[in-house]
Point group: C2
Chain length 277, copies 2
């Protein structure tokens, strides 16, 4: 009874076995960050819409955005699965589409060490045009390891974790392709999209055509928007991140190993072979 997960309409209720596998994966990626010197932080899963607008969220992917506000009270309940705009107040909160925003907002208006590393996990939300089991959810969990400081630091962190993720996936016997991708975050920007073709800023780790992790360089975009500086001369910080879509890892591991229990055994074994970072 309580063992079975339920996934419907882009929302996942995970039973104990699947939850244990998800936690094992999250603890693994967190530990990789901590071993590399990351401090773990915590951030809310929504922000004032102005804060997200300032990061170009509503310019770059308005179609994915979900925004929230209160009800005009007294109100009737929802009808046909919806509160109409006549029943709702203006939306002052934006649900976060990615985890790493919290790191930049925590560091806003500060000067950071040249090799700053943070890790955090959060709920993320995307109004996709279709949902597909654990592979494509409306609400999902994303663990990130975020590098902030010099450009050299962000590149070194990304190189380190690109290698580590590939090794781990190989040890798990998953057939992975590493593909240069267009960061949806920069999709709509003409100049930035062009720059990206010249020098890819995002690589996805794809298993069965599903991107389960990615490494991303943002150059100094977030550093500039959040006024994060590095060093004595007040240079704008560069940022980069490594992102893990936890339910997507669950999906490919369950596909490959059949049960969450077998997948956990395989993950434990792969971690022993991988050794410390």
């Amino acid at each position: 009874m309580s063992g079975r997960s339920r996934v419907d309409g882009g929302l996942a209720l995970l039973g104990p076995q699947d939850t244990a596998l998800l936690r094992l994966l999250d603890d693994t990626f967190r530990d990789w960050g901590v071993q590399a010197g990351a401090g773990e932080i915590s951030a809310p899963p929504l922000y004032p819409v102005d804060a997200l607008a300032h990061l170009d969220v509503y310019v770059n992917f308005p179609h994915l955005a979900l925004v929230a506000g209160g009800l005009t009270t007294p109100t009737d309940g929802p009808a046909q699965g919806r509160f109409t705009t006549g029943q709702t107040a203006d939306a002052h909160l934006g649900l976060s589409t990615a985890t790493c925003f919290g790191a930049y907002l925590l560091l806003q208006d500060t000067r950071v060490a040249p090799d700053t590393l943070l890790t955090l996990v959060n709920r993320c939300f995307r109004k996709e045009d279709h949902f597909d089991g654990l592979r494509r959810l409306l609400s999902f969990q994303m663990r990130e390891i975020v590098a902030i400081g010099t450009q050299a630091h962000t590149k070194a962190v990304i190189a380190r974790f690109r290698e580590r993720v590939e090794e781990f996936l190989t040890l798990l016997a998953l057939d992975v392709r590493v593909e240069a991708a267009t960061d949806p975050f920069f999709e709509a920007g003409g100049v930035r999209a062009l720059l990206q073709k010249m020098e890819p800023v995002k690589y996805e780790f794809q298993v069965d055509g599903l991107a389960i992790a990615s490494v991303n360089t943002h150059r100094n975009f977030f550093g500039e928007r959040c006024r994060i500086t590095v060093g004595d001369d007040g240079a704008t910080a560069f940022t980069g991140c490594v992102a893990f879509g936890l339910e997507r890892w669950l999906a490919v591991l369950l596909d490959h190993y059949g049960t969450a229990e077998k997948a956990r055994t395989a993950v434990d074994q792969a971690l022993r072979e991988l050794g410390p970072g």
Copy 2:
């Protein structure tokens, strides 16, 4: 720089020290649940509004509710911190005000063992009329231990954890008052409110006037709404829960011990004295 937490407008960005304390607390309450036989599950922080309406959320506290939907695209960005209702679609999603809903929705339409115990942590959201640091947030984290089955089982679980929470708070040298309270969940219901005065269904653990945990009995309300049965005769399951407001624990521990590091030492010490459940 990255050490400092930021709390503004009901939203908390926690630095590494505060995050480590929050994790220690969450791991502690989770372990208590697991030691008592709970399986850990995972649930999304929002649901279709119909699912929450079916649990009387919009009847009982419409003023606290936050609802979410997409944008009508193409759209301009937000103005004065808001997307107007002219820019937003109908709201089909409701942000969850409490963690335990996920347990009842996972078990919906099933028959459970008479002594079912689950634990889960989630983000919760309440549109309070004012916010106050970590003491009163719009978005916060709530760990719950949820008993589902016979009424005797729910009462035994609540008695066990009521005692354990009191002991733990005493070992932490926190001045706790256990107060019978009106469950906000049943606030508006005339008959239920009357029943509650006759037999309290909610006790709050208050430190400095702040409720940091509570034990709650729901009788067969959620069992009935979610069609959860127990035993061979198809009796409706009773439910009860133990809830921990993690940022509120952080607030009172930081107040009492001065720093997150000292508070962690005190928690570790208290756990050693408390021993296994």
